[in-house]
Protein backbone atom coordinates (compact mmCIF):
# COMPACT_ATOMS: atom_id res chain seq x y z
CA UNK A 1 0.00 0.00 0.00
CA UNK A 2 2.89 2.30 0.86
CA UNK A 3 4.46 1.56 -2.48
CA UNK A 4 1.18 2.01 -4.33
CA UNK A 5 0.49 5.44 -2.89
CA UNK A 6 4.03 6.79 -3.03
CA UNK A 7 4.41 5.41 -6.54
CA UNK A 8 1.17 6.99 -7.69
CA UNK A 9 2.12 10.36 -6.23
CA UNK A 10 5.53 10.25 -7.91
CA UNK A 11 3.97 9.08 -11.20
CA UNK A 12 1.58 12.03 -11.22
CA UNK A 13 4.45 14.49 -11.27
CA UNK A 14 6.35 12.46 -13.85
CA UNK A 15 3.27 12.50 -16.04
CA UNK A 16 3.30 16.29 -16.11
CA UNK A 17 6.96 16.39 -17.15
CA UNK A 18 6.34 13.75 -19.83
CA UNK A 19 3.45 15.84 -21.18
CA UNK A 20 5.91 18.65 -21.66
CA UNK A 21 8.32 16.50 -23.65
CA UNK A 22 5.43 15.02 -25.59
CA UNK A 23 4.30 18.47 -26.73
CA UNK A 24 7.82 19.25 -27.87
CA UNK A 25 8.49 15.93 -29.58
CA UNK A 26 5.00 14.92 -30.68
CA UNK A 27 3.87 18.30 -32.03
CA UNK A 28 6.93 20.43 -32.73
CA UNK A 29 8.89 17.26 -33.64
CA UNK A 30 11.92 18.40 -31.69
CA UNK A 31 13.60 15.72 -29.61
CA UNK A 32 14.64 18.05 -26.81
CA UNK A 33 17.55 16.57 -24.87
CA UNK A 34 17.68 19.72 -22.75
CA UNK A 35 14.27 18.82 -21.37
CA UNK A 36 15.76 17.74 -18.03
CA UNK A 37 17.73 20.99 -17.74
CA UNK A 38 14.50 22.95 -18.31
CA UNK A 39 13.08 20.96 -15.41
CA UNK A 40 16.07 21.70 -13.18
CA UNK A 41 15.80 25.41 -14.06
CA UNK A 42 12.26 25.32 -12.69
CA UNK A 43 13.63 23.68 -9.56
CA UNK A 44 16.44 26.21 -9.24
CA UNK A 45 13.95 29.06 -9.47
CA UNK A 46 11.90 27.52 -6.67
CA UNK A 47 15.01 27.01 -4.54
CA UNK A 48 16.31 30.56 -5.04
CA UNK A 49 12.92 32.16 -4.41
CA UNK A 50 12.39 30.05 -1.31
CA UNK A 51 15.79 30.64 0.26
CA UNK A 52 15.95 34.33 -0.65
CA UNK A 53 12.46 35.54 0.21
CA UNK A 54 10.79 32.31 1.43
CA UNK A 55 8.42 32.37 -1.50
CA UNK A 56 6.19 29.31 -1.68
CA UNK A 57 7.00 27.10 -4.69
CA UNK A 58 3.32 27.24 -5.53
CA UNK A 59 3.73 30.97 -6.13
CA UNK A 60 7.05 30.49 -7.89
CA UNK A 61 5.48 28.21 -10.46
CA UNK A 62 3.09 30.93 -11.50
CA UNK A 63 6.13 33.06 -12.31
CA UNK A 64 8.16 30.19 -13.79
CA UNK A 65 5.47 29.19 -16.30
CA UNK A 66 5.37 32.40 -18.39
CA UNK A 67 9.15 32.86 -18.19
CA UNK A 68 9.81 29.31 -19.37
CA UNK A 69 7.17 29.74 -22.09
CA UNK A 70 8.87 32.88 -23.41
CA UNK A 71 12.37 31.42 -23.19
CA UNK A 72 11.39 28.21 -24.98
CA UNK A 73 9.55 30.19 -27.64
CA UNK A 74 12.72 32.18 -28.31
CA UNK A 75 14.84 29.01 -28.38
CA UNK A 76 12.45 27.52 -30.93
CA UNK A 77 12.34 30.60 -33.16
CA UNK A 78 16.04 31.34 -33.20
CA UNK A 79 17.77 28.01 -32.67
CA UNK A 80 15.41 25.29 -33.84
CA UNK A 81 13.28 26.91 -36.54
CA UNK A 82 16.27 27.23 -38.90
CA UNK A 83 16.88 23.50 -38.44
CA UNK A 84 13.24 22.73 -39.22
CA UNK A 85 13.40 24.86 -42.37
CA UNK A 86 16.61 23.24 -43.52
CA UNK A 87 15.65 19.63 -42.83
CA UNK A 88 14.53 17.75 -45.91
CA UNK A 89 13.34 14.70 -43.98
CA UNK A 90 12.01 14.08 -40.50
CA UNK A 91 15.03 11.88 -39.82
CA UNK A 92 17.41 14.73 -40.54
CA UNK A 93 15.46 17.06 -38.27
CA UNK A 94 15.62 14.48 -35.52
CA UNK A 95 19.41 14.18 -35.76
CA UNK A 96 19.91 17.96 -35.98
CA UNK A 97 17.58 18.72 -33.09
CA UNK A 98 19.16 16.05 -30.90
CA UNK A 99 22.62 17.51 -31.51
CA UNK A 100 21.49 21.10 -31.00
CA UNK A 101 19.58 20.43 -27.79
CA UNK A 102 22.28 18.09 -26.48
CA UNK A 103 24.72 20.99 -26.76
CA UNK A 104 22.20 23.31 -25.18
CA UNK A 105 21.87 20.95 -22.21
CA UNK A 106 25.60 21.29 -21.45
CA UNK A 107 25.39 25.06 -21.66
CA UNK A 108 22.45 25.08 -19.27
CA UNK A 109 24.20 22.76 -16.81
CA UNK A 110 27.19 25.12 -16.83
CA UNK A 111 25.01 28.15 -16.20
CA UNK A 112 23.09 26.47 -13.39
CA UNK A 113 26.22 25.16 -11.68
CA UNK A 114 27.74 28.64 -11.80
CA UNK A 115 24.59 30.12 -10.23
CA UNK A 116 24.42 27.54 -7.47
CA UNK A 117 26.83 24.61 -7.41
CA UNK A 118 25.38 22.90 -4.36
CA UNK A 119 22.26 20.82 -3.82
CA UNK A 120 18.97 22.72 -4.01
CA UNK A 121 18.00 21.87 -0.45
CA UNK A 122 15.03 23.58 1.07
CA UNK A 123 12.15 22.43 3.19
CA UNK A 124 8.61 23.08 2.06
CA UNK A 125 5.67 21.35 3.75
CA UNK A 126 7.94 18.53 4.91
CA UNK A 127 5.35 17.39 7.40
CA UNK A 128 3.85 13.91 7.56
CA UNK A 129 0.36 13.33 6.32
CA UNK A 130 -1.72 10.22 6.85
CA UNK A 131 -3.62 8.89 3.86
CA UNK A 132 -5.30 5.46 3.73
CA UNK A 133 -3.12 4.23 6.55
CA UNK A 134 0.07 5.35 4.83
CA UNK A 135 2.22 8.25 5.88
CA UNK A 136 3.43 10.51 3.12
CA UNK A 137 5.02 13.94 3.12
CA UNK A 138 2.58 16.78 2.54
CA UNK A 139 4.79 18.25 -0.16
CA UNK A 140 4.42 15.09 -2.27
CA UNK A 141 0.67 15.29 -1.98
CA UNK A 142 0.58 18.98 -2.87
CA UNK A 143 2.89 18.43 -5.83
CA UNK A 144 0.70 15.57 -7.03
CA UNK A 145 -2.49 17.59 -6.90
CA UNK A 146 -0.87 20.59 -8.54
CA UNK A 147 0.36 18.28 -11.32
CA UNK A 148 -3.11 16.77 -11.73
CA UNK A 149 -4.73 20.22 -11.97
CA UNK A 150 -2.21 21.52 -14.48
CA UNK A 151 -2.19 18.31 -16.50
CA UNK A 152 -5.97 18.10 -16.46
CA UNK A 153 -6.22 21.68 -17.62
CA UNK A 154 -3.79 20.95 -20.42
CA UNK A 155 -5.72 17.90 -21.59
CA UNK A 156 -8.99 19.86 -21.52
CA UNK A 157 -7.38 22.72 -23.46
CA UNK A 158 -6.07 20.28 -26.08
CA UNK A 159 -9.43 18.60 -26.49
CA UNK A 160 -11.96 21.37 -26.18
CA UNK A 161 -10.46 24.54 -27.62
CA UNK A 162 -9.83 25.53 -31.20
CA UNK A 163 -6.12 26.19 -30.67
CA UNK A 164 -5.74 23.01 -28.63
CA UNK A 165 -7.34 21.01 -31.44
CA UNK A 166 -4.96 22.67 -33.90
CA UNK A 167 -2.04 21.53 -31.74
CA UNK A 168 -3.32 17.96 -31.85
CA UNK A 169 -3.92 18.30 -35.58
CA UNK A 170 -0.27 19.22 -36.19
CA UNK A 171 0.78 16.27 -34.04
CA UNK A 172 -1.34 13.89 -36.15
CA UNK A 173 -0.43 15.16 -39.63
CA UNK A 174 1.43 18.34 -40.58
CA UNK A 175 0.40 18.18 -44.23
CA UNK A 176 -3.29 17.81 -43.37
CA UNK A 177 -2.87 20.69 -40.91
CA UNK A 178 -1.64 22.96 -43.71
CA UNK A 179 -4.60 21.89 -45.84
CA UNK A 180 -7.06 23.27 -43.31
CA UNK A 181 -5.16 26.51 -43.00
CA UNK A 182 -3.23 25.92 -39.78
CA UNK A 183 -0.02 27.91 -39.57
CA UNK A 184 2.20 24.93 -38.75
CA UNK A 185 5.36 26.89 -37.79
CA UNK A 186 3.37 29.06 -35.39
CA UNK A 187 1.58 26.12 -33.77
CA UNK A 188 4.88 24.22 -33.49
CA UNK A 189 6.49 27.18 -31.71
CA UNK A 190 3.49 27.39 -29.40
CA UNK A 191 3.67 23.67 -28.60
CA UNK A 192 7.40 23.83 -27.96
CA UNK A 193 7.04 26.83 -25.68
CA UNK A 194 4.11 25.28 -23.84
CA UNK A 195 5.99 22.01 -23.46
CA UNK A 196 8.94 23.88 -21.95
CA UNK A 197 6.67 25.75 -19.55
CA UNK A 198 4.99 22.54 -18.40
CA UNK A 199 8.38 20.86 -17.90
CA UNK A 200 9.75 23.77 -15.87
CA UNK A 201 6.65 23.83 -13.70
CA UNK A 202 7.08 20.09 -13.19
CA UNK A 203 10.63 20.83 -12.01
CA UNK A 204 9.36 23.40 -9.53
CA UNK A 205 6.95 20.81 -8.12
CA UNK A 206 9.52 17.99 -8.01
CA UNK A 207 12.00 20.22 -6.16
CA UNK A 208 9.60 20.35 -3.19
CA UNK A 209 10.20 16.67 -2.42
CA UNK A 210 13.36 15.59 -4.27
CA UNK A 211 16.66 17.38 -3.73
CA UNK A 212 18.07 18.30 -7.13
CA UNK A 213 21.28 19.89 -8.32
CA UNK A 214 22.51 21.60 -11.46
CA UNK A 215 23.77 18.47 -13.20
CA UNK A 216 20.92 16.05 -12.53
CA UNK A 217 18.84 17.10 -15.56
CA UNK A 218 19.99 14.27 -17.80
CA UNK A 219 18.37 11.71 -15.51
CA UNK A 220 15.04 13.45 -15.88
CA UNK A 221 15.47 13.72 -19.64
CA UNK A 222 15.94 9.98 -19.67
CA UNK A 223 12.91 9.34 -17.51
CA UNK A 224 10.73 11.59 -19.64
CA UNK A 225 12.02 9.86 -22.78
CA UNK A 226 11.25 6.46 -21.30
CA UNK A 227 7.74 7.60 -20.43
CA UNK A 228 7.04 9.16 -23.82
CA UNK A 229 8.34 6.18 -25.76
CA UNK A 230 6.60 3.73 -23.45
CA UNK A 231 3.32 5.63 -23.76
CA UNK A 232 3.63 6.28 -27.48
CA UNK A 233 4.75 9.53 -29.08
CA UNK A 234 1.93 12.05 -29.28
CA UNK A 235 -0.32 9.96 -27.04
CA UNK A 236 -1.02 11.90 -23.84
CA UNK A 237 -3.17 9.19 -22.30
CA UNK A 238 -0.36 6.70 -22.91
CA UNK A 239 2.20 9.00 -21.28
CA UNK A 240 0.07 9.40 -18.18
CA UNK A 241 -0.27 5.65 -17.72
CA UNK A 242 3.41 5.10 -18.52
CA UNK A 243 4.37 7.77 -15.97
CA UNK A 244 2.35 6.08 -13.26
CA UNK A 245 3.90 2.72 -14.17
CA UNK A 246 7.38 4.23 -13.92
CA UNK A 247 6.54 5.89 -10.59
CA UNK A 248 5.25 2.61 -9.18
CA UNK A 249 8.18 0.54 -10.42
CA UNK A 250 10.76 3.03 -9.13
CA UNK A 251 9.11 3.18 -5.73
CA UNK A 252 8.80 -0.60 -5.54
CA UNK A 253 12.42 -1.19 -6.51
CA UNK A 254 13.66 1.52 -4.15
CA UNK A 255 11.79 0.19 -1.14
CA UNK A 256 12.01 -3.53 -1.83
CA UNK A 257 15.49 -3.90 -3.32
CA UNK A 258 17.76 -0.85 -3.31
CA UNK A 259 17.22 2.85 -3.99
CA UNK A 260 20.31 2.86 -6.20
CA UNK A 261 18.62 0.55 -8.67
CA UNK A 262 15.70 2.79 -9.66
CA UNK A 263 17.28 3.91 -12.91
CA UNK A 264 18.23 0.35 -13.74
CA UNK A 265 14.63 -0.70 -13.26
CA UNK A 266 13.40 2.16 -15.44
CA UNK A 267 15.84 1.15 -18.12
CA UNK A 268 14.79 -2.51 -17.98
CA UNK A 269 11.14 -1.56 -18.58
CA UNK A 270 12.24 0.71 -21.38
CA UNK A 271 14.20 -2.07 -23.09
CA UNK A 272 11.26 -4.42 -22.68
CA UNK A 273 8.93 -1.94 -24.35
CA UNK A 274 11.38 -1.26 -27.16
CA UNK A 275 11.77 -4.96 -27.84
CA UNK A 276 8.16 -6.06 -27.58
CA UNK A 277 6.02 -2.97 -28.20
CA UNK A 278 8.18 -0.42 -30.01
CA UNK A 279 5.10 1.62 -30.92
CA UNK A 280 4.35 2.19 -27.21
CA UNK A 281 1.65 0.79 -24.95
CA UNK A 282 -1.22 2.14 -27.04
CA UNK A 283 0.72 3.01 -30.18
CA UNK A 284 -1.00 2.15 -33.40
CA UNK A 285 1.33 3.52 -36.02
CA UNK A 286 3.00 0.58 -37.65
CA UNK A 287 4.28 2.46 -40.70
Amino acid sequence: MDILISGLLLGGTYALVAMGLNLQYGVARIMNLANGETLVLGALAAFLAFTAISLSPLVTLVIVAPLAFAANWLVYQFLLRPLVKRAKTSGQLEVDSILATFGMSFALVGIMVSIHGEYYTYSFLARPFEILGTTVAQNRLVAFFAAVIIGGGLVAWLNYTRTGTAVRAVSVDTEAARLVGINVPRVSALAFALGGAVTAVGGTLISTFITLDGSIGVIFTMKALIIVIMGGVGDLRGSIIAAVVLGLVETAVASLIDPGLTLVAAYVIFLGILLFRPQGLFGKRNA
Binding site: D173, A177, R178
Partner: protein, 242 residues
Protein backbone atom coordinates in the same frame (compact mmCIF):
# COMPACT_ATOMS: atom_id res chain seq x y z
CA UNK B 1 -13.00 32.99 -60.35
CA UNK B 2 -9.60 31.29 -60.37
CA UNK B 3 -7.17 32.40 -63.06
CA UNK B 4 -3.85 30.66 -63.55
CA UNK B 5 -1.43 32.13 -66.08
CA UNK B 6 1.93 30.85 -67.28
CA UNK B 7 2.39 28.78 -64.14
CA UNK B 8 5.69 26.94 -64.21
CA UNK B 9 7.14 24.41 -61.81
CA UNK B 10 10.36 22.44 -61.70
CA UNK B 11 11.97 19.94 -59.39
CA UNK B 12 15.65 20.73 -59.73
CA UNK B 13 16.52 20.18 -63.39
CA UNK B 14 13.27 18.40 -64.12
CA UNK B 15 10.63 20.69 -65.59
CA UNK B 16 7.21 19.57 -64.32
CA UNK B 17 5.02 22.41 -65.62
CA UNK B 18 5.92 24.63 -68.53
CA UNK B 19 3.57 27.58 -68.42
CA UNK B 20 -0.01 26.54 -67.66
CA UNK B 21 -3.03 28.78 -68.31
CA UNK B 22 -6.41 27.73 -66.94
CA UNK B 23 -9.50 29.34 -65.45
CA UNK B 24 -12.27 28.07 -63.20
CA UNK B 25 -15.42 30.14 -62.74
CA UNK B 26 -17.84 30.17 -59.83
CA UNK B 27 -20.19 27.17 -59.92
CA UNK B 28 -18.19 25.62 -62.73
CA UNK B 29 -16.72 22.11 -62.75
CA UNK B 30 -13.46 21.86 -64.64
CA UNK B 31 -11.58 18.61 -65.12
CA UNK B 32 -7.94 18.18 -66.07
CA UNK B 33 -7.18 14.98 -67.94
CA UNK B 34 -3.74 13.60 -68.45
CA UNK B 35 -1.56 10.53 -68.14
CA UNK B 36 0.49 9.69 -65.06
CA UNK B 37 3.37 12.10 -64.69
CA UNK B 38 1.84 14.71 -67.00
CA UNK B 39 1.96 17.27 -64.20
CA UNK B 40 -1.65 17.19 -62.98
CA UNK B 41 -0.85 16.81 -59.30
CA UNK B 42 1.97 19.34 -59.49
CA UNK B 43 -0.45 21.86 -60.97
CA UNK B 44 -2.92 21.51 -58.09
CA UNK B 45 -0.15 21.53 -55.48
CA UNK B 46 1.37 24.65 -57.02
CA UNK B 47 -1.99 26.45 -56.88
CA UNK B 48 -2.45 25.34 -53.25
CA UNK B 49 1.01 26.62 -52.30
CA UNK B 50 2.19 23.13 -51.44
CA UNK B 51 4.54 22.37 -54.32
CA UNK B 52 8.01 21.45 -53.07
CA UNK B 53 9.70 22.48 -56.32
CA UNK B 54 10.53 25.94 -57.69
CA UNK B 55 7.47 27.70 -59.09
CA UNK B 56 6.79 30.89 -61.04
CA UNK B 57 3.81 32.45 -62.74
CA UNK B 58 0.54 34.01 -61.68
CA UNK B 59 -2.41 32.67 -59.74
CA UNK B 60 -5.33 35.00 -59.06
CA UNK B 61 -8.50 34.39 -57.11
CA UNK B 62 -11.22 36.95 -57.83
CA UNK B 63 -8.55 39.34 -59.10
CA UNK B 64 -6.27 39.04 -56.07
CA UNK B 65 -2.89 37.41 -56.47
CA UNK B 66 -2.40 34.37 -54.26
CA UNK B 67 0.79 33.09 -55.87
CA UNK B 68 3.69 32.60 -53.49
CA UNK B 69 1.54 32.75 -50.36
CA UNK B 70 2.00 30.05 -47.72
CA UNK B 71 -0.56 27.26 -47.91
CA UNK B 72 -2.53 28.46 -44.88
CA UNK B 73 -3.09 31.90 -46.43
CA UNK B 74 -4.30 30.31 -49.66
CA UNK B 75 -6.89 28.35 -47.67
CA UNK B 76 -7.84 31.61 -46.01
CA UNK B 77 -8.19 33.27 -49.43
CA UNK B 78 -10.72 30.64 -50.47
CA UNK B 79 -9.11 27.59 -52.05
CA UNK B 80 -9.63 24.20 -50.44
CA UNK B 81 -7.55 21.27 -51.64
CA UNK B 82 -8.18 17.53 -51.27
CA UNK B 83 -4.87 15.92 -52.28
CA UNK B 84 -4.35 12.43 -53.60
CA UNK B 85 -4.51 10.14 -50.58
CA UNK B 86 -7.09 12.54 -49.10
CA UNK B 87 -4.95 14.20 -46.42
CA UNK B 88 -7.42 13.70 -43.60
CA UNK B 89 -6.44 13.46 -39.93
CA UNK B 90 -6.42 9.67 -39.61
CA UNK B 91 -6.12 9.61 -35.82
CA UNK B 92 -8.89 12.13 -35.18
CA UNK B 93 -12.63 11.57 -35.23
CA UNK B 94 -14.91 12.50 -38.12
CA UNK B 95 -16.35 15.42 -36.15
CA UNK B 96 -12.88 16.71 -35.27
CA UNK B 97 -11.86 16.50 -38.92
CA UNK B 98 -14.88 18.57 -39.91
CA UNK B 99 -14.33 21.10 -37.12
CA UNK B 100 -10.72 21.53 -38.18
CA UNK B 101 -11.94 22.11 -41.73
CA UNK B 102 -13.47 25.35 -40.48
CA UNK B 103 -10.23 26.40 -38.77
CA UNK B 104 -9.43 29.33 -41.05
CA UNK B 105 -10.82 32.68 -40.00
CA UNK B 106 -13.31 33.35 -42.77
CA UNK B 107 -14.89 29.89 -42.42
CA UNK B 108 -15.82 30.31 -38.76
CA UNK B 109 -18.78 32.61 -39.31
CA UNK B 110 -20.60 30.16 -41.58
CA UNK B 111 -19.43 26.98 -39.90
CA UNK B 112 -22.84 25.96 -38.54
CA UNK B 113 -24.57 26.36 -41.90
CA UNK B 114 -21.69 24.66 -43.68
CA UNK B 115 -21.81 21.72 -41.30
CA UNK B 116 -25.53 21.35 -42.02
CA UNK B 117 -24.74 21.34 -45.71
CA UNK B 118 -22.02 18.70 -45.30
CA UNK B 119 -24.36 16.47 -43.25
CA UNK B 120 -27.08 17.00 -45.82
CA UNK B 121 -24.72 15.82 -48.56
CA UNK B 122 -23.13 13.01 -46.52
CA UNK B 123 -25.60 11.88 -43.83
CA UNK B 124 -23.20 9.08 -42.93
CA UNK B 125 -20.73 11.59 -41.48
CA UNK B 126 -23.32 12.67 -38.93
CA UNK B 127 -24.02 9.08 -37.84
CA UNK B 128 -20.32 8.26 -37.65
CA UNK B 129 -19.23 11.47 -35.96
CA UNK B 130 -17.23 9.80 -33.22
CA UNK B 131 -15.50 7.24 -35.42
CA UNK B 132 -11.74 7.61 -35.92
CA UNK B 133 -11.28 8.56 -39.57
CA UNK B 134 -8.52 6.02 -40.21
CA UNK B 135 -10.87 3.11 -39.44
CA UNK B 136 -13.37 4.06 -42.15
CA UNK B 137 -13.63 2.62 -45.65
CA UNK B 138 -12.03 4.40 -48.60
CA UNK B 139 -15.33 5.83 -49.79
CA UNK B 140 -16.18 7.13 -46.32
CA UNK B 141 -12.72 8.68 -45.92
CA UNK B 142 -13.24 10.47 -49.22
CA UNK B 143 -16.50 11.88 -47.80
CA UNK B 144 -14.59 13.11 -44.74
CA UNK B 145 -11.98 14.74 -46.98
CA UNK B 146 -14.54 16.49 -49.18
CA UNK B 147 -16.71 17.42 -46.23
CA UNK B 148 -13.72 18.89 -44.45
CA UNK B 149 -12.75 20.89 -47.53
CA UNK B 150 -16.31 22.24 -47.77
CA UNK B 151 -16.08 23.36 -44.14
CA UNK B 152 -13.35 25.79 -45.20
CA UNK B 153 -16.09 27.67 -47.07
CA UNK B 154 -14.00 27.85 -50.24
CA UNK B 155 -14.68 29.63 -53.49
CA UNK B 156 -12.78 26.93 -55.33
CA UNK B 157 -12.57 23.26 -54.36
CA UNK B 158 -9.63 21.34 -55.84
CA UNK B 159 -9.52 17.54 -55.84
CA UNK B 160 -6.66 15.30 -56.92
CA UNK B 161 -7.90 11.91 -58.18
CA UNK B 162 -10.89 11.72 -55.84
CA UNK B 163 -12.16 8.46 -57.39
CA UNK B 164 -8.86 6.63 -56.88
CA UNK B 165 -9.49 3.36 -55.05
CA UNK B 166 -13.27 3.71 -55.10
CA UNK B 167 -15.61 1.14 -56.62
CA UNK B 168 -17.45 2.17 -59.83
CA UNK B 169 -20.64 2.62 -57.85
CA UNK B 170 -18.99 4.82 -55.22
CA UNK B 171 -17.22 6.81 -57.94
CA UNK B 172 -20.55 7.53 -59.56
CA UNK B 173 -21.96 8.69 -56.23
CA UNK B 174 -18.89 10.85 -55.65
CA UNK B 175 -19.21 12.64 -58.99
CA UNK B 176 -22.91 13.13 -58.45
CA UNK B 177 -22.10 14.79 -55.11
CA UNK B 178 -19.51 17.04 -56.75
CA UNK B 179 -22.13 18.35 -59.15
CA UNK B 180 -24.41 19.04 -56.18
CA UNK B 181 -21.58 20.97 -54.52
CA UNK B 182 -20.93 23.09 -57.60
CA UNK B 183 -24.64 23.87 -57.78
CA UNK B 184 -24.14 25.89 -54.58
CA UNK B 185 -21.85 28.24 -56.51
CA UNK B 186 -18.53 26.72 -55.58
CA UNK B 187 -16.04 26.25 -58.42
CA UNK B 188 -14.63 22.74 -58.67
CA UNK B 189 -11.26 21.93 -60.24
CA UNK B 190 -10.46 18.25 -60.42
CA UNK B 191 -7.76 16.04 -61.78
CA UNK B 192 -8.97 12.60 -62.83
CA UNK B 193 -8.02 9.33 -64.43
CA UNK B 194 -11.66 8.37 -64.76
CA UNK B 195 -12.26 10.51 -67.83
CA UNK B 196 -15.70 9.22 -68.68
CA UNK B 197 -17.37 9.83 -65.33
CA UNK B 198 -15.61 13.11 -64.67
CA UNK B 199 -16.38 14.55 -68.09
CA UNK B 200 -19.97 13.46 -67.51
CA UNK B 201 -20.38 15.99 -64.68
CA UNK B 202 -17.94 18.68 -65.86
CA UNK B 203 -18.59 21.89 -67.74
CA UNK B 204 -15.16 22.11 -69.30
CA UNK B 205 -12.00 20.08 -69.55
CA UNK B 206 -8.31 20.60 -70.22
CA UNK B 207 -5.88 18.05 -71.60
CA UNK B 208 -2.40 18.13 -70.11
CA UNK B 209 0.67 16.41 -71.55
CA UNK B 210 4.27 16.74 -70.42
CA UNK B 211 3.48 19.72 -68.27
CA UNK B 212 1.66 21.68 -70.97
CA UNK B 213 -2.00 22.21 -71.84
CA UNK B 214 -2.62 20.54 -75.21
CA UNK B 215 -6.36 21.01 -75.48
CA UNK B 216 -9.36 22.71 -73.96
CA UNK B 217 -13.04 22.32 -74.70
CA UNK B 218 -16.51 21.91 -73.33
CA UNK B 219 -16.87 18.57 -71.56
CA UNK B 220 -19.46 17.13 -73.95
CA UNK B 221 -17.28 18.03 -76.91
CA UNK B 222 -14.29 16.32 -75.29
CA UNK B 223 -16.38 13.22 -74.62
CA UNK B 224 -17.08 12.91 -78.33
CA UNK B 225 -13.62 13.92 -79.52
CA UNK B 226 -12.03 10.86 -81.20
CA UNK B 227 -8.53 11.82 -80.01
CA UNK B 228 -9.72 12.09 -76.41
CA UNK B 229 -11.60 8.82 -76.72
CA UNK B 230 -8.47 7.12 -77.97
CA UNK B 231 -6.22 8.55 -75.29
CA UNK B 232 -8.38 8.66 -72.17
CA UNK B 233 -11.53 6.67 -72.76
CA UNK B 234 -9.92 3.42 -73.87
CA UNK B 235 -10.94 4.23 -77.45
CA UNK B 236 -14.25 2.51 -76.97
CA UNK B 237 -17.11 4.68 -75.81
CA UNK B 238 -20.45 3.24 -76.70
CA UNK B 239 -21.78 5.41 -79.52
CA UNK B 240 -25.16 5.59 -77.79
CA UNK B 241 -23.42 7.56 -75.05
CA UNK B 242 -24.94 5.47 -72.29
Amino acid sequence: MLTVSSLKAAYGMHRALGGIDITVGAGEIVVILGANGAGKSTLLRAIAGMCEGQTSGEVNLDGKSIFGMPAEDIVEAGIAFVPEGRGIFGDLSVTENLQLGAYCRHARTNSVANLEQVYDLFPKLKERGRQIARTMSGGEQQMVAIGRAMMADPKILMLDEPSLGLSPLLSKELFHNLSRISATGMGVLLVEQNAKLSLGISDRGYLIENGAITGENRADALLNDPAVQAAYLGGAVAPSGS
